[in-house]
Amino acid sequence: MSHEAAITVRNLKKNYTTYLRKGLFKREKKIVEALKGISFEVYRGEVFGLLGPNGAGKTTTVKILSTLLLPDSGEAKILGFDVVKEAAKVRKVIGVSLTVEKGFFWKLTGRENLTYFGMLYGIDGEPLKRRVEEVLDMVGLKNLGVADKLYEEYSLGMKARLSIARALITNPEVLILDEPTLGLDPPSARTLRELLVKIAHEERKTVLVTTHNMFEAEIVCDRIAIINEGRIIALDIVEKLKESVADNISLEIFALLPANISVKTVISAIQNKTGLLSDAFAENGGFRIKVVIPPKESDEATSKILRLLHEYKCSVRRVEVKEPTLEDVFIQLTGRKGF
């Protein structure tokens, strides 16, 4: 991987105007700041992750880079072409996947859909036939024996593969993928992640992928930018990002909650009592509560939290101290309790 930039984004800003209906004839104008001046570079041949919660500005960034949305100010270039002034040139060097659950003709097979879009993007004849076979093979739809099945009969995993295949149909240098594993079951998501890594490394593509899945970002991406509320708050390789919170301790408590107590109540109570941010995930009928604690406060905070859980009549089954993960980085940087 070289350090030559394939994608350059400089101080990109974008506001949306929305209208809130107030009664039958009145409406109130509201400006939503989607991007507040983001800047980053994606190097040639790397898988670059844009990680952030819903509404952070990931899709806005992807749409601007895909030439489907005009920024208010700032600059974005792909392989040296400006996404606003040279949109047609940009379109020739990018492959885009925006959603995995739709975007194809339901009454066409996977192969037919790819043939149509290939033609729409300017490929024809023998080169198109060859490329359709190549990409079907690459994404594994041929092996699954579903290339000639109607799109309406596809599972979500197959649709996601077809979406990647379309992004690859013109053999572009840069792939822009917006949440390619969103909604997929774990085995399909895993297969797709492997596919992304394979495409990036074997086909030597530059890939910009957005996700809100930290595990995915960690295993797929060479570098990650964490985006929150329209700002990039961290950008580095995963190891470096983790190092930034290495001093902290990640405490994981698995507990069963009484029926009359909600997990939200417990999380708020932890924050009120300790001032620490925590997050909770449902697991095996109970909850895995995760708290990032500064080392100096670890003993005191741990006992405070356990006492609090006892007060709420939660049955604590397991307590673990873990190495910081990307999730911890996110919690520390954003102050948000997960997505």
């Binding site: 020739k92 194809f104 003709f105 066409l108 729409l120 300017g122 024809d124």
Partner: protein
Amino acid sequence: MGLKTLLKSGVILDLYLYKNNRGAFISMLLWPYLMLSLMLGMGILFGSPEAFRENIGLQVDPIIYFVASTLITMASLDVMWGVGGNVLFHRWIGTLPYILLSPNKTSLTLVFTYIPRYLLTAFIQIAEFAPLILIIEGPIQGLYKIGILIIAVTVGMLPLLGFSALFASLLLTIKEETNVLSWLNPIILLFSGAFYPAYLLPHWARLISQLLPSTYTIELARTAALIGAPKLANITFLIGILMGIALVYNMLAYLVVDIGEKKAMKAGAI
């Protein structure tokens, strides 16, 4: 990228759609006769061929009159839905961003990928009515009228393409999710004289009617249907008007769709 490939992509899309969806193909074949039967049935129920001729003021066969009306009305609706409504269709199925990512101008993509479907549908429908016209009018007169109908649906389509692309631009800009076209189309057809001759409309409505390309397409088909042997000068005049309007509307569409697309891209409507 060549427009030939764009046209070809339209051809293969339609072939695939009809191949995989035979129900749609059969209903496309049945639709003109169903519409004709409905109009004739209503006419026979509430009137008679004699009463029809009396109202029109010409010795004309109502079947031929309604065949021409049906063909032109359906062709006009088809263009408006096919180009204008295409934006909605693509938005609903989620293909719109990928269509816009084509390296061609959006107006060209919308129009050129649609032309093959229009021609295929229009010619199939003319072919369906051809035996009926030949039986009623006889071989020479029948062939002459079929010829004029072919000219009407092909030349008449040209201004409608630009006109409908303007609608596409509107739908693109306002991020319209509802079916504006479903209530707008009948109004356009009404002003164009599809149901009542345009000269029977009030003055203000006639002014609107003169701006609509469908008015001249319908007029051309009527000329063929109503007059036994329309003069070549009449037909040439109408074709000339259609070509002129086609030029204006298509040039306008070429510019306006671009502006609409930019506006939609600014507002995040795509």
